[in-house]
């Protein structure tokens, strides 16, 4: 039951991240979606991929998104 609840929460968070007007909040929601995917990887007994996913998403991808937002505007019209 916990496994299906995590997957539904990930889908709901990704759908909410599309609808937000503030782009910085949608970047945070994308980061938390991928963090839930990392927990799902750990529950399927693959610890190497879980560590790699958490480190890559938390470190490098968020930085690239924030730099891209900084060079354009923050609020979507």
């Amino acid at each position: 039951m916990f496994y299906e609840a995590l997957l539904i929460a990930a889908i709901v968070m990704a759908l909410v991240a599309i609808e937000m007007k503030d782009l910085l909040q949608s970047v945070i929601l994308l980061g938390s979606t991928n963090l839930i995917i990392a927990i799902v990887f750990f529950m399927l007994k693959a610890p190497d991929i879980a560590i790699t996913q958490a480190a890559v998403i938390g470190g490098v991808v968020t930085m690239i998104f924030v730099v891209a937002i900084k060079k354009t505007e923050r609020f979507e019209k």
Binding site: L24, M63, V66, K70, K71, R74
Partner: protein, 115 residues
Amino acid sequence: MKINQIQITTLIFLFIFVIMVITVSGKIYQTDFDSRAASQYYLNNGLEETGSANIVNSIVWDFRGYDTLGEESVLFIAATGVYFLSLALRKSIDRRDKKKGEKTKSKLLTKITKI
């Protein structure tokens, strides 16, 4: 809407490729032990031949080490491409500043925390 010849040929090749992928992948996910010979070999002889307790690491760096070498070279090529793109951007901004004679507001990236 006009469909020319190039789009038809790409669609045909894509269709054949998808059929080939589906046919090949039917042989990988079988569950009887006779057709999973490679994974059984890695499980049985992984510890003696390499000496490491982590079989995933022994597969990635020892049994299939050349694939890892190719992957590292792809990472290096991507990093080189990003560096040269940023160098071209900096040179064009510098040239624009020198032509105008004054320093325009070219701080593209202040500290990231000050959004």
